[in-house]
Amino acid sequence: MAPALVYARLTLREARRRRLLLVLLVLTLVMVAVTTWGFGKLWDIRVQGRPPGASFVRATASQLMILVAFMFTTVLGLAATVVASPSVSGDLESGLALSMLARPVRRADLLVGKWLGFVAMVVIYTGGAALLEMELVSWVTGYMPPHPIAFVVFVSAVGISLVTLSMALSTRLSGLVGGVIALVAFFMSWMGGIVGSIGLALQNQPLIDAGAVSRLIVPADGLWRGAIWSLEPSIVIAGVKAAGPGAASNPFFAADPPPTAYLAWCVIWVLGLLALALWSLNKREI
């Protein structure tokens, strides 16, 4: 097996042995069970004393689903940052990397292998948790988001961008410092997105530009917008668009998927940061 894949397998094995996967599984099952119960309670709402119609339940479920997805994406981003931040620096500081890097392997194998391991965890966890949640919500409310696979892709991409940023910082900074920086960047990106939305509502070009720039610096918010779009039913999109730019500026609404050029930028951002991390690790004294 190629050394990078050995490190990827080792990363997954560590997550399993240290019970990270078990903890995520249990917490996710609890979260899915609680939210599914909550979605089922939509049928208990009374509108002017009468039970709600199926279309009302589906429309309400679609908006609640976005809030659940927001919570899920936040937890994923935090977990990805906390797990990836000490991944390289921890091995270097503890001496774990010394005996391994003295073997006939490249430093790139260590970095790319760990990255692949984390990416696999993010994609498997996001895909499993999101599709389970959607299936159960569909079962109790009859609502299934229009683009479930696109949702998994966009949310996974948020996680992957944060893993990459955290690992790049980890080649030079301790886990604590790198983790704090990555988390601040993550939340600043969201704040930047909200600023852009406010700019849109007020038709203020500098604020709109600030939002756009923040999405370029750290693409977490831009990709989150794609996740929102994948959950929005077309009827809601049409209704909000008809209500004018004020309504469309809601930070939990996206009428369109991110443009292809932006998605290309996200790919370049991740690969560029990975290359920077590799350069940084190669230059580092061990």
């Binding site: 503890s94 005996s99 003295a102 073997r103 490249r106 004294e285």
Partner: protein, 340 residues
């Protein structure tokens, strides 16, 4: 002839880090590779020329020049902060030299093909606490590029050598420091390396463990493996090493075989009734250390001791005691560092 040719191809391929199938059949190519293989095999285990390393303005190594022959145990000694661990990291390609050159097993520093034939026990030894001892060794077999078919045998042999066979399935996190160091030694022995770097290999071991490590080093020498022993435990080095280098402030201050370094024999004589200039007159017998009633003469062959005593008596001295003395590595080490 065919077998010889194939063997030659394999040797050349191994030396050049390519699979045998990739070797061209042209005679010229084969000859070049044969020459490369021969050169690699004939080269010393380690050779450095004016190797320096600076961390900012702080010099860690200041012009390290040394040669470690194959099949010998080489003691690399020095006080704390002398640059011993830095030198090992440079030789393994874990850090880049500021200037100078070096070759390990005939390859430039950091060469991955050379690292395939090297074992290393770091001073800061730590292994995945969530893996078992057997899994750690299997991981190192995989990273070292050993054939999968050999892993089981290699791992079991390493476990037995370092006396961990009974704890093979236990998590490393439950091991004492000494056991973890034994595990690191086992990992360094995987794949029958041609050169093994041991950086303070007994720092966490009890006397029995230290004895075991000495036995491991002796058995490595017997099978032709060069051992680069980085240590400040001088008695251990004296027991197992054929050759030593003493490094201080990043520079080799003395090197050679133990006999060369310890300067042969010495004798200590208690003599009274002589004036200082009379005692000084026997300096022709060797390097003289005059400590009042006691004088020590270094570099004196045992056959000439009666001659020295005769001379002292002839000068009017009364000789009470004559003690042959063998200079220890510690004496020499302190002498060298004190002189600096």
């Amino acid at each position: 002839m065919l077998v010889g040719s194939l063997h030659l191809q394999h040797l050349a391929a191994e030396s050049l880090g390519r699979p045998p199938g990739c070797i061209s059949d042209t005679l010229v190519d084969l000859r070049e590779r044969q020459a490369a293989a021969s050169a690699a095999a004939a080269s010393p285990a380690v050779h450095t020329a004016d190797l320096t390393k600076r961390y900012g303005k702080q010099p860690a190594l200041a012009g390290l020049t040394m040669t470690v022959p194959r099949g010998e145990a080489f003691g690399f000694l020095g006080p704390n902060g002398a640059g011993k661990t830095t030198a090992v990291k440079l030789l393994l390609g874990l850090a880049a030299p500021t200037s100078g050159e070096g070759w390990v097993l005939g390859r430039p520093l950091g060469d991955r093909e050379a690292r395939r034939r090297i074992g290393y026990l770091p001073e800061l030894f730590r292994y995945q606490p969530w893996l078992s001892a057997r899994e750690v060794l299997a991981l190192h077999c995989e990273l070292a590029g050993l054939p999968r078919a050999s892993w089981r045998e290699e791992v079991q042999a390493a476990l037995e050598i370092v006396d961990l066979a009974g704890r093979a399935e236990d998590r490393v996190g439950t091991f004492s420091k000494g056991m973890q160091q034994r595990l690191g030694l086992g990992a360094a022995l995987l794949g029958k390396p041609e050169l093994v770097f041991l950086d303070e290999p007994t720092s966490a071991l009890d006397p029995v463990g230290r004895h075991d490590v000495r036995q491991v080093i002796n058995s490595l020498k017997e099978r032709g493996t060069a051992v680069f022993l980085n240590s400040h435990l001088l008695t251990e080095v004296e027991m197992v090493c054929d050759r030593v280098a003493i490094v201080d402030h990043g520079r080799v201050v003395a090197s050679g075989t133990l006999d060369d370094l310890l300067g042969g024999h010495a004798v200590r004589v208690r003599v009274t009734g002589l004036k200082p200039h009379e005692r000084a007159s026997v300096s022709g017998f060797g390097e003289l250390d005059d400590d009042g009633e006691w004088i020590t003469v270094r570099g004196l062959e045992p056959e000439r001791v009666p001659e020295l005593v005769d001379e002292l008596v002839r000068l009017g001295g009364r000789v009470y005691s004559v003690e042959p003395r063998h200079q220890t590595l510690e004496d020499r080490f302190l002498q060298l560092l004190g002189a600096k």
